[in-house]
């Protein structure tokens, strides 16, 4: 099964994390990583470890917040949840992404038609 190169997704990873937290509510790091992998049907070829610097960055921007809690298995874990600012950011990024996707799609259909 072909996997998606990580550099292609550079910059979209933040978006995926925000979207996941938005959809699922507060999650700990492993859960976020698994969720993203499941949604991408295991086509993402990036190390799970890269999630943590990304989470720190989102936190520094104030788009997510974190709180220590206890997981379903009783393990002490840090839960991340999206903030108001994060939701606003997600809205902007989603709109940007859709616009960009539409343009690219249009471009592909147009070049197909010209063939």
């Amino acid at each position: 099964m072909p996997t998606v190169k990580s550099d292609l997704l550079h910059g979209t990873f933040d978006f995926m994390v925000l979207k996941t937290l938005h959809a699922m509510g507060p999650l700990h790091g492993y859960a976020i990583a698994r969720r993203i992998e499941q949604i991408s049907a295991d086509q993402l070829a990036i190390n799970q470890g890269t999630l943590y610097p990304a989470l720190l960055k989102l936190q520094q921007h104030g788009w997510i917040s974190s709180k220590w809690g206890v997981s379903s298995t009783g393990r002490r874990v840090k839960f991340y949840s999206i903030t108001r600012g994060g939701e606003r950011q997600l809205g902007t990024e989603e709109a940007d992404w859709r616009r960009a996707a539409t343009i690219v799609t249009k471009f592909f259909t147009l070049s197909k038609a010209l063939k």
């Binding site: 698994r34 470890g49 921007h61 997981s71």
Partner: protein, 877 residues
């Protein structure tokens, strides 16, 4: 902004954050492992798989930390702490570097402090950068002034100015002392934005009508020195010129413009008729006004100059004799106007002092190189552990920057102390009777500019002293270095020798200058002039009344002799020269000449060796006769009798029309002994021809008076009486030649002291530089020497070898230093008459002192060679 704050906050709890991350990562791996186990893997396989899926925890932690805090700053901070720890272990090195570099920084910083105070620091008035003075050059006159009608026409036309004001110089006698004042338009002080220290300044209504308001504002300096800081001065009436003026105020201490240091008072221009000199309303054709203006904020000086040029061309179209050739706008923002000439001087002085700093840096670089070698093993270990060379280089640079801090502090302390001592020394040594020096001294407190300059110089020096050690780092062989094996490195030793050569060269350069100047000042302490000038005074007075005053003075009892000359001897530069040819021998000579009245010879007690001087008739007619000096006679008529010979004069193309010699041929009537008619620094004239003149009203000449006694005051009162009789109110000055010569010598001695100081510093550096390098070499090569001694070489042989090496370095440095010194001397002696031409002595003495210092620096550590025990030295192998 937000991430920045987050990063800043993270700095405060970084350990906690580190712990949290590792906790998070281990939770992650636990969950991942559990998932894999659930899928049926063995625990070991599951752990492995989880680890693979996660990627390296170390890399993650590293990436995490890079996002957290400020990694570059933190590592710089680490470098700094490391540097401080390392340096603390070698306090002697720190003290040496801080002292050496601090001395260099202090000297160059002090030079900058002085130049800053005069050339860069804005004067103490609001927005001084908008203040300009305006004038123009004509075909015949430089810096043409304005006539009153010109100024009145300019004022309404000049919309580019926030304001324009005019001022006129005047001089009045106050208790037989000439006092300088400025007559100004009523808006003058408003335009400057000056504030009074006492009372009020002049206002427009003070200058509303001619002769209406007799008020005056005193300068702070005059108020202090002449009126003893009298607090009740405001309201008093003082006599100035022909009238009493009411003192309305005193200016603040430094509220004067460039060139107005000696102005004692300001009165309304409308009071001009109360003073001797020009009244612009009575003489509307007299160009006596200096115009200053404040530019509006939205216009540039360039556009104003262009506009003024157009305005001047329209007002004075070409046939006019004041048609503009060049228009000047001089910024009045600083104490001295910063133009091309002052900038050149600025650069020259800073270069001389900068050289001291450079030599200090060379000195310290050597120390750093030696230190670098001693620490090679440490560096090699760090490189072997994976530190990049850039990382190690950065460490070295940070170390130098840390070293630069105490150096800059030392420099600053030196500047502060010198800034206090320097004016005090000047005040204490300044010859009495010349202009009051307090007017010219400005506060020398180190300000923001000085601090910035010092910091920049310290950083540049820090980088300079790291360049060589860092450069060596690049070429370091890890394997060699970690063994501590560096003695085979020839490149490094060449570099060190080069640095020592620079120090010795600079030392020689400074010493030649210092010895040259010292020689001259000791010669000038008892100058051989053959002139008896001690009782002679120069009378400075309006040329219009000079003849009358001269005639009247001759009958004063206190006066022994009155004479005139185109140029007073001993000062005002060297003699003008002209080309003469002796008719009898056809020998041509470029000879100095002067034009004097017959009394000039007895006035200065110049002996007539043969023949006679001019008769009054010859003097009055400017007859075609000449008196020559003995040296001139010997050069033109060797073995012949000069009396009765004729001289052919080439036309003198240069010089002003009123100073051209009218004659083409002159007959020699007398021979004098050789004296100094030219500059006192140049010594006895190599040649001099005297031509006759008498007191003439218009020509620019000096009136010289010889008193019967040494008492200047007696002469002053005699001159006062004489002037009062023939030209009441005309200001004059009695300038004793003793004082003037003393002042010239003082300036010269000040130069000598400064040069000697640089010489001593250079000497110190040359000595310590050589000492450091040779001692280092001895330590470094102890093993080699041990082996050689074990093989039969004597200690003397080794010392001789080292001495030869050092001498080679010294010779190169000396040659370079002496060459530069010779080049500079030639440059200066051709362009500047202040500096005397020196012979070979300073070069020999300077080179010898530099050599002795170098030899002492080398021999002291070399004495250690004799104590090397071959057995001991070999055992360390």
């Amino acid at each position: 902004m937000r991430p920045l704050i987050a990063r800043l906050l993270a700095l405060l709890r970084r350990r906690q954050l580190d712990d949290e991350l590792s906790d998070e990562m281990s939770a992650h791996l636990e969950f991942s492992t559990a998932d894999y186990v659930d899928r049926g893997m063995s625990l070991a396989d599951a752990r492995r798989a989880a680890g693979l899926r996660f990627g390296g925890t170390l890399q993650t932690a590293e990436a995490y930390r890079d996002r957290q805090g400020f990694p570059l700053l933190e590592s710089l901070w680490q470098d700094m702490r490391y540097a401080v720890r390392t340096l603390r272990r070698t306090p002697l090195c720190v003290v040496t570097v801080a002292g050496t570099m601090g001395l260099g920084l202090g000297l160059v910083g002090f030079a900058f402090t002085i130049l800053n105070a005069y050339l860069l620091k804005p004067i103490d008035l609001p927005n001084p950068h908008a203040l300009y003075s305006f004038n123009w050059d004509t075909e015949t006159t430089r810096r043409q002034r304005f006539r009153l009608p010109d100024y009145e026409a300019l004022e309404p036309a000049a919309r580019r100015f926030a304001g324009l004001a005019a001022a006129q110089d005047i001089t009045v006698m106050q208790d037989a002392v000439s006092t300088r004042g400025l007559l100004v338009t009523g808006n003058y002080f408003e335009l400057l934005g000056a504030r009074p220290a006492l009372g009020r300044l002049l206002r427009p209504d003070d200058a509303a009508a001619r002769g209406a308001v007799a008020v005056v504002v005193l300068s702070h300096q005059t108020w202090r020195s002449r009126y003893g800081s009298d607090p009740s001065i405001v309201g008093q009436r003082i006599l100035l010129g022909r009238q009493r003026f009411e003192v309305v105020g005193v200016t603040e201490p430094n509220a004067y413009l460039s060139g107005q240091e000696s102005v004692s008072f300001w009165a309304p221009l409308t009071m001009a008729s109360a003073f001797p000199g020009i009244d612009p309303w009575a003489e509307p054709d007299a160009a006596s006004l200096v115009v200053v203006g404040r530019l509006r904020e939205d216009v540039t000086a360039g556009s104003v100059r262009a506009w003024l040029e157009v305005w001047l061309r329209q007002r004075f179209p070409p046939p006019s004799d004041v048609a503009p050739v060049a228009v000047h706008l001089d910024s009045l923002a600083t104490r001295i106007i910063l133009d091309g000439k002052t900038l050149t001087l600025f650069v020259l002085i800073m270069s001389a002092f900068g050289l001291v700093l450079l030599v200090a840096c060379a000195n310290v670089t050597n120390l750093m190189l030696a230190r670098g070698l001693a620490r090679q093993t440490e560096v090699a270990v760090r490189l072997a552990l994976g530190a990049s060379r850039w990382r190690v280089a950065r460490q070295l640079i940070v170390e130098s920057l840390v070293l630069a801090v105490p150096a800059a502090a030392t420099g600053l302390a030196l500047i502060i102390v010198t800034a206090r001592v320097f004016p005090a020394v000047i005040l204490a040594t300044f010859p009495a009777g010349v202009a009051p020096v307090e007017n010219v001294l400005v506060p020398l407190n180190p300000d923001v500019r000085v601090m910035a300059f010092l910091s920049a110089a310290a950083v540049v020096s820090a980088v300079l002293i790291t360049l060589a050690p860092t450069g060596r780092l690049a070429g370091m062989h890890l394997a060699h270095a970690s063994r501590g094996d560096a003695s085979s490195d020839a490149r490094g030793s060449r570099l060190r020798s080069g640095l020592v050569a620079i120090q010795i060269g600079a030392c020689a350069l400074f010493l030649v200058g210092a010895v040259g100047l010292l020689d001259e000042s000791s010669r000038l302490a008892n100058p051989q002039t053959n002139l008896s000038y001690e009782r002679v005074s120069l009378i400075s007075i309006d040329p219009k009344v000079r003849a009358a005053v001269a005639r009247r003075l001759a009958s004063e009892a206190a006066v022994e002799q009155v004479a005139v000359a185109w140029k007073p001897p001993l000062m005002n530069g060297s003699l003008p020269t002209t080309r003469v040819t002796a008719s009898a021998t056809s020998i041509a000579l470029n000879t100095g000449y002067t034009v004097v009245s017959p009394e000039y010879f007895p006035l200065f007690d110049i002996q007539i060796v043969r023949g006679r001087t001019f008769t009054p008739t010859e003097a009055a007619a400017g007859a075609a006769v000449a008196v020559v000096s003995e040296a001139t006679a010997a050069a033109l008529w060797p073995g012949l009798d000069p009396i009765g010979q004729t001289l052919d004069l080439a036309a003198v193309p240069e010089g002003r029309a009123d100073r051209r010699l009218p004659r083409r041929r002159a007959q020699v009537i007398g021979v004098t002994e050789d004296v100094v008619n030219g500059n006192i620094f140049a010594g006895i004239d190599a040649s001099c021809v005297y031509f006759p003149t008498d007191v003439q009203p218009l020509t620019d000449m000096s009136l010289l008076v010889r008193a019967r006694t040494d008492d200047v005051e007696l002469l002053r009162s005699a001159v006062t009486t004489a002037v009062k009789e023939v030209a009441p109110e005309v200001p004059f000055q009695v300038l004793p030649m003793r004082t003037l010569v003393g002042f010239a010598l003082w300036i010269f001695q000040a130069f000598s002291v400064a040069a000697s100081l640089l010489g001593v510093v250079g000497l110190l550096f040359a000595y310590s530089g050589t000492h450091a390098v040779v001692s280092f070499l001895v330590v470094q090569r102890t093993r080699e020497f041990g082996v050689r001694m074990a093989l039969g070489a004597t200690a003397w042989r080794i010392v001789r070898g080292m001495l030869i090496e050092t001498s080679r370095t010294a010779a190169i440095g000396l040659a370079a230093g002496l060459a530069v010194a010779a080049g500079l001397m030639r440059l200066f002696s051709s362009s500047n008459a202040i500096l005397p031409t020196v012979g070979g002595r300073p070069f020999v003495v300077g080179a010898a002192i530099a050599l002795i210092a170098t030899a002492a620096g080398a021999l002291l550590p070399l004495s250690g060679v004799a104590r090397i025990d071959p057995a001991q030295a070999l055992r360390t192998e």
